[in-house]
């Protein structure tokens, strides 16, 4: 229960810069996710907040207390690792009680707290088992209980679900969110999984090469990517390189006219594009509609192409379409995906100008 403030923290490993002058404010009780590919510095950042890694430069504050030089054991944090890291020689109860026991709590107080924690993570009666007798998901729940038992100021998660299978990940991510909401603790969560980040975060920090690309809510990042990197990283985006040919509209209705591979497209874009500028127009696979016959007049953008490949994935089908020498990915759901197989090679695609985003090329 405290705010976390990072002031231009930097970490060098020899010549490599892992984290580069990163600044971030996390509000009290907020759930912030650091999202990025492996090697982008998100884990290093988290470990610096924990104190497990010493920053080369910059300061870290919990509330207004400068904790940069305080060792992890005195920061009162809860760190959940990629592996549950339960002490294998201690019972579940002793694992959960470990933090309190090193702080000198009485045995009865510890036992009481352990029961509360076990109930909280939905595992009452498991206290006497050894970690090896639990499943992976149960182990990670105990790891959660173990960090919550000490009533930490900040919860830190380092890809806690990456070692689990998909179904378990889906249920456990909501358990984590629910526990964080119930305890009202400030949380920083590291992941490379977009759907995980989108499902549980108040705000998402997209990181790349040791720097922050964009901070924002899910919709901010999804609909208003501020850099080409974010536009390409969030969603499996199709990029259509082209040049600006003009503008129409004002304010929210402002559109950029883009000439891309022989097609005239209308896209959303920030102001400041001049005619002739190189841009990339991004369209998400799920935003593209397949048009039947001559329909689709209500779409601002219509492309024609040939189907290259159909990949049936169950709930959705993935389509690879050749459009003017470029391959587009189209995700199809609903009944349409079942009739795809009968179509011949030619196909027409339509999408609204609100879904096409122009970014500097």
């Amino acid at each position: 229960m405290s705010t976390v403030r990072l002031e231009s923290i930097t970490k060098h490993y020899g010549q490599t810069v892992a984290v580069d002058e990163l600044s971030l404010d996390v509000a009290d009780g907020e759930f912030v996710t650091l999202l990025g590919p492996s090697g982008c510095g998100k884990t290093t950042t988290l470990r610096m907040v924990a104190g497990l890694v010493e920053p080369t430069d910059g300061r870290i504050f919990f509330d207004d207390q400068d904790v940069t030089d305080i060792p992890p054991r005195k920061r009162n944090i809860g760190f959940v690792f990629q592996t549950p890291a339960l002490f294998p020689h201690l019972s579940v109860a002793d694992n959960i009680g470990f933090g309190l026991s090193v702080k000198g709590s009485s045995k009865s107080a510890i036992a009481e707290r352990v029961e509360v924690m076990l109930a909280m993570v939905g595992m009452p009666g498991y206290g006497r088992r050894l970690p090896a007798q639990l499943s992976g998901g149960q182990q990670q729940r105990v790891a959660l209980a173990r960090v919550l038992a000490t009533d930490p100021r900040v919860l830190l998660f380092d890809e806690p679900l990456s070692a689990l299978d998909k179904n378990l990940r889906d249920t456990l991510k909501y358990s984590i969110l629910e526990l964080q909401r119930r305890t009202g603790k400030t949380a920083i969560y590291v992941t490379h999984d977009q759907s995980e980040a989108f499902a549980i975060s108040d705000r998402i920090v997209v990181m790349n090469a040791g720097r922050i690309e964009q901070i924002g809510t899910q919709t901010d990042i999804y609909l208003h990517p501020r850099t080409p990197y974010v536009a390409e990283f969030i969603g499996a985006n199709n990029g259509l390189p082209g040049t600006v040919s003009g503008h129409v509209g004002e304010g929210d209705d402002a559109r950029v006219l883009v000439e891309a591979g022989g097609h005239a497209l209308r896209a959303r874009g920030r102001d400041g594009f001049a005619a002739g500028d190189a841009v990339v127009a991004y369209i998400r696979p799920e935003d593209i509609q397949i048009l039947d016959g001559e329909g689709g007049a209500h779409f601002e953008n219509v492309l024609e192409g040939t189907i290259d490949r159909v990949i049936f994935e169950g709930p959705t089908a993935q389509l690879r379409v050749h459009v003017g020498g470029r391959e587009l990915r189209v995700d199809v759901s609903g009944n349409q995906r079942l009739t795809l197989m009968q179509r011949d090679g030619r196909i027409r695609l339509g999408f609204d100008d609100i879904t096409l985003i122009a970014a500097p090329g």
Partner: protein, 288 residues
């Protein structure tokens, strides 16, 4: 299916289902392999254990070829002092070994010590150097510098030098296998280095520690050559006593009884250490 047939050898022969000729032949060749492999194990046991059995039988030989338990009363009486010295020297040596090896191994594995490979190689030197060379080196060192030749501590120190790598190596191996996440988790939960080491690290490297203790104990307890060089005149360890007796009085049944007793103590230490330290942490942990 095939695996279960193989493991349940004899019962498979009595299986009620009729088997084809091919099945029978395969079963027979499998039984042949079974018999040969069992035979081989028994042969090994016979070859390696016979000398000890001969010693055991001889240790019960009384005057004129009779049976005598008196030989072992000698062990507790006249030889008791020698055994006691051996045990004391061993106990002190492994205690000092452990006290040095634990922090040393932790530093070598967990901290960026410059030239740690070289340090480790140098520390392992006593493993490759013949006992006589170690003994001679120590006599020279003691005489010219510490004047330890006349004290028990000189002998203990010699044993520590000789067995330190045996203690260090298994602890280093165990620590390298221990993921650092356990220590980091403990630290984040508020535990200091000392608490983390004794409550988390030490129990988890238990198998390595026990292996080191056992190896060092057995070597020190049975060490004869280095002892011969550096022992003070008032201290005669059991192996030294055996050697002296065989040299001066020939092979007596009483000496054999002392040798058997030493063997039993060594064997007991192996069993004890595996029981107390080894299996406890092998089970139910990631160490399997």
């Amino acid at each position: 299916m095939t695996a279960s047939t193989a493991s349940s050898g004899p019962s498979a022969v009595r299986a009620p289902a009729p088997r084809s000729m091919v099945g029978r032949r395969r079963l027979t060749s499998r039984r042949m392999v079974d018999i040969v492999s069992h035979g081989y194990i028994w042969l090994c046991l016979f070859v390696f254990v016979t000398p000890f059995l001969a010693l055991l039988v001889y240790s019960f030989t009384g005057p004129g070829g009779t049976y005598a338990i008196e030989n072992f009363q000698y062990v507790l009486g006249s030889f008791g002092e020698n055994l006691w010295w051996s045990l004391r020297i061993s106990g002190l040596s492994i205690a000092i070994d452990l006290a040095i090896a634990l922090p040393a191994a932790y530093a070598i594995v967990r901290y960026p010590v410059p030239g740690k490979r070289l340090i480790f190689s140098v520390l392992s030197l006593p493993l490759y150097v013949p006992g006589a060379v170690i003994g001679l080196s120590l006599v020279i060192t003691y005489n010219f510098t510490y004047h330890l030749t006349t004290s028990m501590w000189g002998l203990v120190f010699a044993m520590v030098v000789g067995t330190f790598p045996l203690m260090l190596t298994p602890i280093i191996v165990a620590l390298k296998d221990l993921p650092i996440a356990f220590e980091e988790a403990a630290e984040c939960l508020g535990a200091g280095r000392w608490t983390t080491f004794w409550r988390i690290v030490f129990p988890l490297i238990g198998p390595g520690v026990s292996a080191g203790l056992m190896l060092a104990f057995i070597i020190v307890f049975n060490e004869y050559l280095v002892t011969l060089f550096v022992h003070p005149s008032e201290i005669t360890t059991a192996p030294l006593r055996i050697f002296n007796l065989v040299r001066t009085a020939g092979l007596l049944p009483t000496t054999a009884a002392l040798a058997v007793t030493m063997q039993l103590i060594s064997l007991a230490s192996v069993l004890l250490f595996f029981r107390v330290f080894g299996t406890r942490y092998f089970k139910g942990t990631y160490l399997i």
